[in-house]
Amino acid sequence: MPVSLRDAIEELVRDGDTVALEGFTHLIPHAAGHEVIRQGRRDLTLIRMTPDVVYDQLIGMGCARKLVFSWGGNPGVGSLHRLRDAVEHGWPRRLELEEHSHAGMAAAYAAGAANLPFGTLRGYLGGDLPARTRVASVVCPFTGERLAAVPAHRPDVAIIHAQRGDRRGNVQIWGILGVQKEAVLAAARSLVTVEEIVDELEPKPGAIVLPSWVVDAVAVAPGGAHPSYAHGYYDRDNDFYVGWDEISRDREQFLAWMQRHVLDTADVTEYHSSLAKAGAYA
């Protein structure tokens, strides 16, 4: 049964939780991130392979205590200025980092989904990262090969965005699937925002379905991935990502933008009206 996004976040996300918002460039759950910001959640440990604009906003608004990640940039544009400000200057608060490689993060999610304590990979070979993160090595009992071991991701809550759900709460995702299925299955609780609710989930090439009984809440959030995209619904707003570089560079400008388009809006529909009214993204 679909619920409101406000109720879902209130119910599922608590201060101090470990939260994974996933979506690899595609289907990034921005509307849900905004709702977490509106509700003023604090001390979150945020997990995400590519903490792009959505985590830049959460970090800049002071929601996060720790970030577990593998690539923290604005894709195709450059730096995440709020993430950098938190790491380099502790603004608005100090941010602890646990840094991995993509392969390590993917293995950690897959291990979590499989209810294993750790994931293994042939990775983290050489380089300075192993000394700076949670990685150990295990010896293959059959060949003697030494492999990297990463602790499984077991978030309290996973939040993803999907194209659509049905009235029973099943959700369907297609296009670039990222690590969303693993994040949901690894988590204790899960929330899926969807573009729409339909009577019947018609089969789509390459689509996966997460059955209702692995999802705690489904909330309708049309345009809820913006500025990311929803394959088959709308394109990535590349101009927004380029524009974010300027908006996020300055603390006051960032806060004013968040106030206007997120804190002063009630939901994703108002967020989109607010952006439209502003014309450009300033």
């Binding site: 380099e88 490689s101 993917a106 990775g123 380089g127 300075d128």
Partner: protein, 234 residues
Amino acid sequence: MTGYTSDEIMAVEGARRMDDGAVCFVGIGLPSRAANLARRTHAPNCVLVYESGTIGAKPDVLPLSIGDGELADTADSVVSVPEMFAYWLQGGRIDIGFLGAAQIDRHGNLNSTVIGDYDHPKVRLPGGGGAPEIATAARGVFVMLRQNPRTFVEQLDFTTSVGDRVQVVVTDLGVLEPRDGELTLVAVHPGVTIDQVQEATGWELRVADGVGQTDPPSDDELSVLRALRTKAAA
């Protein structure tokens, strides 16, 4: 067409070194430009793999991000990210991995993590992403980055990925290849002198005997490259 930018000659020189049929793990920016140029010129059968999970992507427009919808629409197959890294990269299916970085040393080790101290960085960079495993699982690594004393350094601030499998480094000044484990200048771009390359390098640069000169981009290469960019701007 006579003039060209340094980005263009880098993309062209990267593309020329890709064999037809090569399976390439491509990042955004110059690598994506180089690989798409190769696919549209001498290497129509090369396979573009983007880490977002798209295998055999054939974009008409250059994507801004590695997960643009265009890549999924034109791909032979779209797989999840755990599958991409476990089955396809770690599985040994990738011939060429493209990497960029903020710093490189004489052994081809790369830094894309921090400038300064890790705990108190002067500049926090995005981090390794796919690089640590691309650098050790792809058969060969192509590096593309601009050459100056800030990028070509004696000592990396942080080693994000190791240089063991680097086959070539294409810069805005020329081309370097490893010889006995040390990057060696093998060619300069038209109009660039060896002294200029040395000045842009933070260590005493090894220079190959009979260092060559790269061919300037041909009209055909430039027009294909610019068409890809024009579409991207549209």
